[in-house]
């Protein structure tokens, strides 16, 4: 390897989990005796001018870390931060043992990563393993998104794959009624905003994600919204009206005139 910085050495000793257009995600260890961390590496984009690339990468790593900390301080369940190397584009966060909501809901499972045709478990069995019903899960999602919006953070990419449910086997819940915890992940597109519009669009994006990945999603989304409503309180009436508006026109506002 040409580069031998500490962060590059850390990455080369880690296991690649997935890759997107912006970043590669690894599972690694900061120290061999410690617990696992998730490393999100925003690799160099050769199609951009080098100095622009450095500035953008730094700003995005910093932005994601700040959004996570703001969520933590506001009581939103998100992974803890473990290391930040903005100049190399590396963000290390807590490894969460569990499954994504997409995997746990009907027919969202299996991205085809080598599991073959044989379904190992039916989704309901898996949810059972987590000790919650679909209704409880929707309730947890609604509460978490509401807490995030109350802190004026817009996620920007709410989908069922960006929510994880902790495995009760490796997590001790402090709430006797719910043995698990819903964790929001991937704040790469998040930003700060107090506008009703932005929050409504965030919800709309999630509604579309539900509709396109899970059959019969309407009652599930409605259940989620009911929990959201209860948590946000007085802001809800304005939000509901705006959500209806967004549903009619779509995510983008008309910029004509």
């Amino acid at each position: 390897m040409a580069t031998t910085s500490a962060s590059m050495r850390l990455i080369s000793s880690s296991t690649l989990i997935s890759q997107g257009a912006e970043a590669k995600v690894y599972k690694g260890y900061l120290t061999p005796s410690g617990s696992a961390v998730l490393l999100k590496y925003r690799f160099k984009k050769t199609y951009r001018h080098p100095s622009l690339d450095t500035t953008l990468t730094k700003a995005r790593v910093a932005g994601e870390a700040r959004a996570l900390l703001k969520c933590l301080r506001s009581g939103v369940n998100v992974p803890g931060i473990r290391m930040v190397d903005a100049s190399e584009g590396l963000l290390g966060i807590e490894w969460i043992e569990g499954k994504s909501v997409k995997y746990l809901l009907p027919s969202g499972a299996d991205d085809g990563d080598g599991e073959g045709e044989v379904p190992v478990e039916s989704p309901s069995q898996t949810l059972e393993h987590f000790g919650i019903s679909v209704d409880t899960l929707m309730n947890l999602i609604g509460i978490e998104i509401a807490k995030m919006h109350l802190a004026d953070i817009i996620h920007g990419d709410l989908t069922t794959s960006n929510m994880m449910v902790r495995d009760p086997a490796s997590f001790t819940s402090l709430d006797p009624k719910v043995p698990t915890e819903l964790v929001l992940i991937d704040f790469g597109l998040s930003y700060h905003s107090t506008l009703v519009e932005d929050k409504a669009v965030d919800l709309y994006v999630l509604e579309r994600a539900f509709a396109s990945t899970h059959p019969d999603s309407e009652p599930m989304f409605a259940g989620m919204l009911a929990a959201y409503e209860k948590q946000v309180g007085k802001e809800w009436s304005a939000l509901r009206r705006r959500l209806d508006e967004v549903r009619l026109r779509g995510r983008k506002r008309s910029m004509v005139g």
């Binding site: 700040r66 900390l69 931060i81 290391m83």
Partner: protein, 202 residues
């Protein structure tokens, strides 16, 4: 004492030794000794500097082992990039623990002082320095009882930590205020994450 290895960093800073001493009686003298060593001249100065070549941390302000390890890891990262904000990698650990960018404040708050009876000692060095040798050096300067790290839970001063990190009034804390166990877990998570992201703090 616990030893940690960070294989991603250069050998001379890859081995970290962490020890908790309780019932420490010479904290005030230790502080004066560190200050004196910093300006001592000649060969005697070098010997004295090596004798106190540790990070001495007030254990009351540490929430967990992970909290301290995170501060060490970010200090090593800064050292590996020649981006230390303070003079040594040991003082950088203290700097990383403090939520502000004020170095004097970081050392005053997180370093040893007269009132300290519980001190965490950290040594960053190469693996060539054996754990036995490090412990011997530590015991030569600290007068106290070497204790397991699990004793930290009875030492942590949660009220001061909440004050320094401006956590009073934050939603996450007020929500968990009824249950001390939950509150401590929430504070630990926030404080550890703050240390990790200090380099990009707004």
């Amino acid at each position: 004492m616990e030893s940690l290895h960070f294989p991603q960093f250069d050998p001379q800073i890859s081995q970290v030794s962490i020890a908790l001493f309780t019932k420490v009686s010479n904290a005030g003298a230790l502080k004066l000794r560190i200050i004196a060593a910093a300006t001592a001249e000649g060969q005697a100065g070098d010997v004295e500097r090596e004798a106190v070549n540790f990070a001495f941390i007030d254990a009351r302000l540490i929430t967990s082992k992970l909290h301290l390890e995170t501060a060490v890891c970010q200090a090593l990262l800064a050292a590996s990039q020649d981006a230390l904000r303070t003079r040594t990698v040991h003082s950088e650990v203290l700097y990383n623990l403090n939520p502000t960018h004020n170095i004097t404040e970081a050392i005053r708050r997180y370093g040893v002082s007269d009132a300290n009876t519980d001190v965490i000692v950290v040594r960053i060095d190469s693996p060539e320095l054996t754990p036995e040798a490090v412990l011997k050096k530590m015991e030569a300067v600290v007068v106290g009882t070497l204790s397991p790290f699990s004793d930290l839970e009875n030492i942590t001063d949660w009220a001061s930590i909440k004050k320094y990190h401006k956590l009073n009034g934050e939603l996450a804390i007020t929500e968990a205020a009824k249950d001390p166990q939950k509150e401590h877990a929430v504070i630990d998570k926030i404080v550890t994450s703050s240390v990790a992201m200090k380099s990009v703090m707004s």
